[in-house]
Structures are given as C-alpha cells and as structure tokens.
Symmetry: C2
Subunit: 219 residues, 2 copies
C-alpha cells in the first residue's frame, strides 16, 4: 500500500499549520459567494465540455448525478439541515445526524465516485456498488471529522478544533458518545473494503488507499 500512498498528492503540512485565510477573509463575503457560484457552474461546464471520448448519454447521466450530489438532496441541503440543527438536543437521535452526514458529506464522496464510474464506462451494477462505497466512505469521513474535532488540538489538525462544541452541533460523538462513534467508523471501513473486494484489486487500490488514509486519522 505504501506505493499507492506515495501516488496521492501530498499535503503541505506547513501551509496547514500556518493557517491560510479563507476566501471570504481575503476577498470579502460577496466575492466569496460569487466565487462559489462560478465554481459550481465551472464543474458542470468541465463535465460537459472536457469529457472527450465519452458518449453524450453518459455525460448527461453524470450531470444529473453531479447536480443531485451538490444540490438540495446533497451538499447544499445537508448543510442547511446541519446549521438548522445546531443546539438541538442529542435526543433528536441518530437518524437525523445520519441524514445530515449522508447529505452533507457522503453525497459529495458518492458523487465523486459515481461520476468516475459513469464516465469510465462502468455497468449499472458497478455504478451502484461504487455508489454504496462512496456513501460508506463519506459517512465514515464525516464521523472521523466529528471525532477529530473533539480529540485533536488545533495545532495537530491544522485547523481550528472544538468548533462543533462551540455551536453545539449535532455530531456522532454528541449523539452516541466517542466509543460507539469510533466503532461505527470502523464498521464503515470494513463495509467499504468489502464492496471494493468485488473489483479488480489494482484498479480498486487507490480507493482502498483513500479509505485507509481517512480512517487512519483517528488512530
């Protein structure tokens, strides 16, 4: 696996530790909002204009997936649920926090994986199996993120931690406690790898490496 890890783009930890200011800090909130809109449109343009050699039918199908993963049923809708749930009692339960995480984070990973599968010529059955993989890893990644916000210092993580507690965000540790959250994350890692086991091993290796990379952050 080490070779595969070497192939992943490296992250400049010095940059992370220094903490680069976000877009809205540098250019103002109005420009940051418009940059977000422009980049969202750019994603669709890239998909439609740059996928030479892919049948237009597949490009149209991928466009629907991208829109669903970004829009009201995906990241944007999940983020609305997330900010609307701040301060809610943990009694609202696992179902709600899981739905938020599935929309906000898992939809993004699901979209990324499914788009690759569609554009890469995957069969319907392969696309649906990879959808489940993306959903598992996305949910796992958000649970890991929730855990790190509690267990790591700002210096260790390279971004401000403890933020979820400050705004009383609905997270897995809040609803289920730390041990149960780690257990669920581990189960999702196993589920993800089980799904990948059905694919050609060398081709699935990068997805396996990403899974290990995210899961490894809480160890």
């Amino acid at each position: 696996m080490s070779l595969i890890h070497d192939d992943l783009p490296s992250i400049d930890n010095d940059d992370l530790r220094r903490g680069k200011p976000a877009c809205h800090k540098v250019f103002g909130e109005n420009v940051a909002i418009l940059a977000g809109d422009a980049l969202l449109a750019c994603a669709f343009e890239h998909l439609a204009a740059s996928t030479k050699g892919v049948s237009p039918t597949r490009v149209v199908r991928a466009t629907v997936e991208l829109a669903k993963s970004a829009g009201a049923e995906g990241v944007a809708g999940g983020q609305v649920m997330d900010v609307s749930s701040e301060g809610l009692s943990s009694e609202v339960g696992l179902e709600r926090v899981e739905l938020i995480h599935l929309r906000k984070s898992a939809a993004l990973l699901e979209g990324a994986v499914v788009l690759g599968a569609i554009v890469g010529g995957g069969s319907d059955e392969e696309v649906e199996r990879l959808r489940m993989f993306g959903r598992c890893v996305g949910l796992m990644g958000q649970i890991v993120n929730d855990i790190l916000d509690v267990t790591k210092s700002t210096a260790e993580l390279g971004k401000t931690t403890g933020k979820d507690l400050v705004v009383d965000k609905l997270t897995y540790p809040k609803v289920l406690g730390m041990d149960k959250s780690k257990e669920i994350a581990q189960k999702l890692v196993e589920d993800s790898k089980e799904i990948l086991a059905g694919f050609d091993t060398p081709k699935a290796a990068p997805l396996c490496a990403v899974t290990n990379y995210i899961a490894g952050k809480i160890n």
Copy 2:
C-alpha cells in the same frame, strides 16, 4: 401584439408594491446562500433530466451554454466586476460598463434564448443569430434598469430606486448621461427586432413582445 401580451404571465403589482422580503431576510444569509447553490445545481439537473426527446448531444451543448452564462464569464463574474466597480470614476468609460452589463445581465438573456434554440433543434446559424438577439435585449434591459433607477420612484417601480446612486454604481446614465443612454437602448431595440425579422413571424412574436415589454418601461 396585444394578444401576445395577454399570454405573458401577469405580475401581481399589489405584491410588488407591498414589497415581499427577500430570501436572506426571511431565512438568514447562510440559508439564502445555500438556496442559491441548490437552485443553480437544480437548473443543470432539470436540463439534463427533463429534456426528453432531445438528443444527448444537444443537452450536453446546452449544459456548456448554461454554465458559461451563469459562471465566471457570465452572471457571477459580471456581478464581481459590478461590485468591484462601485465608486469608480465615470472616466473608466463605456467599455467597462458595457462589459459588466454584457456579463451580468446580457449573459443571462443570451443563455435563456440560446438554450431554447439548442434544445428546440435550431441550426448553428439560428443559434448564433438568437445569441445576438439575447445579447442585445439583455444589454438593453440592463440599460433600461439603470435609467429606471434614476427616473422612477420606489412606489412606481415596486422596488427601491436610487440605489445605484447610493453606492455610486457604474451605470450607463453615469457614464453617458440620460439622453445618450436612452438613445442606445432604442438602438438596441431596433437591432433586436432586425435580428428577429429573419425568423418565422408567429414563432418570433413572443421574443418581440418581451423586447417591447422591457423597452416600454422607460416610455
């Protein structure tokens, strides 16, 4: 023409005069930003998922057009230029204000018309002629908007007027004066109708009606 006007959706002037609060006033800025993102994604989903009977090649081509009209080269980029130009001297000139208006407003009209032309099966030549029509009407509409902001009262227009002056926005009246602005708007109306004259008259009638409707606001 009166029949065609009757076919246009009517605007409830009482609602306009009462002044309904905007999304960010009712739901907060964070939710309004996310609603914008979700609706942008929804436009692409609608185009890709709901255009039955249209060849995927045309849908992909329309997707590129939609992205360009909304993104960095279109509305979002034009709006960035617009807010960045507040307070600039009128000496920056006509070229800059025209570029802002072409991106911010004309790109939207151009996109709307071109998408219809592509999805409706127009030839390349028809698409490009309608693109010029959309650009003319869009630019004309923005100049009309600039003029109304100066000449009409808030009660007459149903929205707050005089706002451009408050933030010292770069507008046609500011750069060229009122008479010259009206003259250019009128010339654009004539150009628009000349382009439409090349199409089947009954089919082009709604576009002609929209042109008259917008232009009529300054008379």
